[in-house]
Symmetry: C2
Subunit: 547 residues, 2 copies
């Protein structure tokens, strides 16, 4: 039987659903409604067009209304805003954006893919500030780019250090603008933990981006030219990007009486249906399950939106289609750095009261003797008894997102820390080491779970030393010239076996090295000689990052 399917929202999830619906069924009537002018545009590319990294505006328009209509035999209506869902009549009320005219369209099945919109707080002076922008779509992009092209701003202020904020920071910097970033939290890039974000802070500093952490905007003055921070500081801005986060476009669903989650996401079941089985919802507007913990989560990213679009179309056509939740796998380029993460971070695990352990490693991206490699920092989070993987983070200049992709795959395959050690990954000197960083993380994790390795963490060691704990720094004396942990005693690894008698037998011994590897060898020597010993996870490097 021929069905009529109406889709609200023509970007990412909505466009994907439309294409998939047509591939599955040549007869169905498929109506795609988009309130904006453009459908299926490259959201994630927008900052790069402003930065002139992408130079061709057309390239942002992945599908045009005309092209996609023809290719997939769709009824696509842009500039068409759905203002009401009439569930009893199974119709939607559509407002033609240009004329204001409202008409009704019937549906057998409705898919809501309205997305999320940038949060705009009610700040003093904001309404008079012409130079403050948010970035969501092509018209926003055009406005910001025109402002940069025409006004040639000298100073830009980014409010919010998330993905869009940092991508805009990089792209405005690329345009020759001095950039400041204001972040309310103590770190940028919420998906990663503080000591990992510290590497990003360094990178921003190196690139000359001013970073104001633990500070927010109190008010705008002088028509937006002056930004007053909560700390009292005042910044001059010729261009301000407001990127403090997004909020699900849930009004339509709410008005229709569909259930919303605590954070406003439209609640759906595993087959992406709302309370009303004839209404599906997908993309940034919905509440998903955290893949690892099974708890509700809001994860406004492109992959879930696309995947959900496909699955909704499958389910509408009677196929098995279960959305299993989101890992929130993400990656961002921040100048030369790549920052990637998957699954749960430590902040979330701590907040959730879940029992976890973390390991930090700083291996080379590829064989140290092959040129062009660089150190990368990884953090692996796992269940301390079973070795179940909760999540991972990586930051560095090369081979970063590869390791996160592997761990995201491992999580979906229900692999544990030992399995990570057993992954047979591609090795040649330009690409990796015979023990890949993922293998290394797995080995360290396995050692912890098996009790072969006791860890102490960067945020614990100062307190321990202060209270009289013994900390042995097993690096060479030359390395300590660049800094060491106050109170640590230097016994280089090569001398440790001969100097065991210097150590107090009754006391727990803490060990640190530069990145954690020699420290591990040292703790093995110590424990095999009857001492109780713990290694500082990630060594002095992680300690320094955590400061």
């Amino acid at each position: 039987m021929k069905k009529k399917i109406v889709i609200v929202g023509g970007v990412a999830g909505g466009a994907t659903a439309a294409a998939r619906l047509r591939r599955l069924n040549e007869e169905d009537e498929i109506v795609l409604l988009e309130k904006g002018e453009y459908i299926s545009f490259a959201n994630c590319g927008l900052p790069y067009y402003i930065g002139e990294v992408i130079t061709n505006r057309e390239a942002l328009l992945v599908q045009t209304v005309e092209g996609m209509s023809k290719k997939f035999n769709l009824d696509i209506r842009n500039l068409s805003e759905v203002v009401e869902i009439n569930r009893e009549r199974k119709t939607v009320s559509i407002k033609k954006v240009e004329t204001g005219e409202i008409y009704e369209e019937s549906y057998d099945t409705l898919i809501l893919s309205p997305g999320a919109r940038p949060i705009v707080p009610p700040l003093n002076g904001l309404s008079d500030a012409e130079n403050v922008f948010t970035l969501r779509n092509v018209p926003d992009t055009d406005k910001i780019k025109a402002w940069v092209d025409e006004k040639k701003p000298k100073e830009a202020v980014i409010i919010g250090g998330g993905f869009i904020g940092l991508e805009m920071a990089e792209n405005l910097h690329h345009r020759g603008v001095n950039v400041s970033v204001i972040e309310l939290g103590n770190q940028v890039m919420a998906p990663i933990d503080y000591e990992m974000a510290a590497i990003v802070h360094w990178e921003l500093d190196n690139e000359g981006v001013e970073l104001y952490l633990n500070d927010g905007v109190k008010a705008f003055k002088d028509g937006g030219r002056t930004i007053v921070l909560q700390s009292g500081k005042e910044l001059t801005s010729d261009l301000t990007i407001l990127s403090i986060g997004v909020r699900p476009e849930n009004e339509l669903a709410e008005k229709a009486g569909l259930t919303l989650g605590e954070r406003g996401g439209i609640v759906v079941n595993q087959t992406l249906q709302t309370d009303d089985p004839n209404i599906y919802a997908i993309g940034d507007a919905i509440e998903v399950r955290d893949y690892v913990q099974g708890t509700p989560a809001m994860i406004p990213l492109a992959w879930p939106a696309n995947r959900q679009g496909r699955l909704a179309a499958d389910h509408i056509n009677g196929r098995n289609a279960v959305y299993k939740g989101s890992l929130g796998t993400s990656v961002a380029k921040v100048f030369g750095l790549t920052v990637a993460a998957t699954g749960n971070n430590e902040k979330l695990l701590k907040r959730s009261g879940v029992d976890y352990e973390a390991v930090h490693i700083h291996p080379n991206s590829n064989a140290a003797y092959y040129p062009g490699g660089s150190q990368l920092s990884m953090k692996l989070l796992f269940q301390p008894d079973t070795g179940e993987i909760f999540g991972a983070q990586a930051v560095g200049y090369k081979g970063v997102e590869k390791r996160i992709d592997v761990i995201a795959t491992a999580i979906k395959g229900k692999l544990n820390v030992w399995d990570l050690a057993d992954l047979e990954l591609a090795y040649a000197p330009p690409y990796s080491s015979a023990k890949d960083p993922v293998n290394m993380a797995g080995y360290v994790g396995g050692n912890v779970v098996e009790g072969d390795l006791s860890l102490v963490h960067h945020h614990e060691i100062d307190e321990i030393v202060k209270k009289g704990g013994v900390l042995i720094d097993v690096r060479e004396p030359e390395e300590r010239e660049f800094g060491f942990i106050t109170g640590s005693i230097n016994i280089p690894l090569g001398e440790l076996r001969d100097r065991l008698s210097e150590l107090p037998e009754q006391q727990h011994i803490y060990v640190n090295c530069q990145v954690g590897l020699r420290g591990y060898l040292a703790t093995k020597i110590l424990t095999n000689n009857g001492f109780k010993a713990s290694n500082l996870s990630g060594g002095y490097k992680t300690y320094l990052l955590g400061k």
Copy 2:
């Protein structure tokens, strides 16, 4: 109880085993015997030192005898060749290479890690050829590099187009030498299939490397300066590298009465023990299980050697340690190209009589609108009823080994083609697309298994068209100007719905496009309209590669 463990072979697996043994036990006596001068050197880096990509020779020496002895408290003896295993006495006979003196050393447990040596066929004139080299270790490297430095060869001939052959081709080319590669088979790089290797053939051609396929060496003349091929061709060579493969160093094991496999590998059980439970064997010299099929295989690569070294040490110390077999995951840089593979290739599956299906895709390494990306070619092999993944290959300029690592992980996680589609991988425009190439391969594979998509292959289509089969090329007319499959009829995808009446209703319709995506959309239109249709896997691109 204190044990005495003797290890034969101080590179890769042997060195790893020694280090792990010490970490697990501080008391054991660990003797590491190496017949060469160097232990634990960077095998995989040797070609790059000859090519002066790696400029520091010291960098190749990962561990020195002195350094490693001290760090791990080991008894390391280099220039010490084990010439006999005396199983009854539990001793080995060791020849001091420098003096010829032989002495016995007892063991409780023996680990054999002798490696594999380059195959040198008994060719006419070889013994008189001073300019013919094999490459296995540091002295070989020194000899080749000295020859290049001093003799300044103009013409080099590489015999054998495997990993070492092609890495040497690139590195000698980098030194300004004209390079020819002779390969007995119809393709280079045995781990991948012919149509994938074709991309490598193009790359070699682009870089000015002469490639002689389906040809071998018959004899050397003029002291090696002339190489006579089986085809009768004669090549001039100032420097010849013999890299046709390796053979396990199995003589010691054989003489000791340990079982060898059909291809000469030392047979071990899952805990890496030979027939004699006191003798373990690891690395290139052993026969492993193919991880996918469970059949015997020889996989002389660094990852398995290292992994086995660790596991043997674990098992010796009473720990659970099972080597689950080798996927043979591999990667090589061939000039700008990256060539990577994991699991079974089509040649092996065909030879084994296993039921399989293959899909080819040619997606972009990252978002097409973001600069610096490039097309990559992937092949996925799987069980056609269950979707079990057998293997994958990828060739391209960017993001290649990442996708293979993900699929290698998926295989270890027992994920199937649908799961590949469901992998939540890291996406931002510089790194991937919202549907990653791995997702794409999974979607196509899933479509095939579910019967949503019928494929025809590059090696089948000519015959089909010749016999009167209908082949529709759904590309635009402009694209056909660069070539098309003889006998194909052009109906651009956008016109297909309107021109269905032109198609014969009773005949199976074959479809091709450029890379397979539009062809898939076309087959969906056709089958949804009652036609029987198949898509050419990988489109015209794979067809051309398969020529």
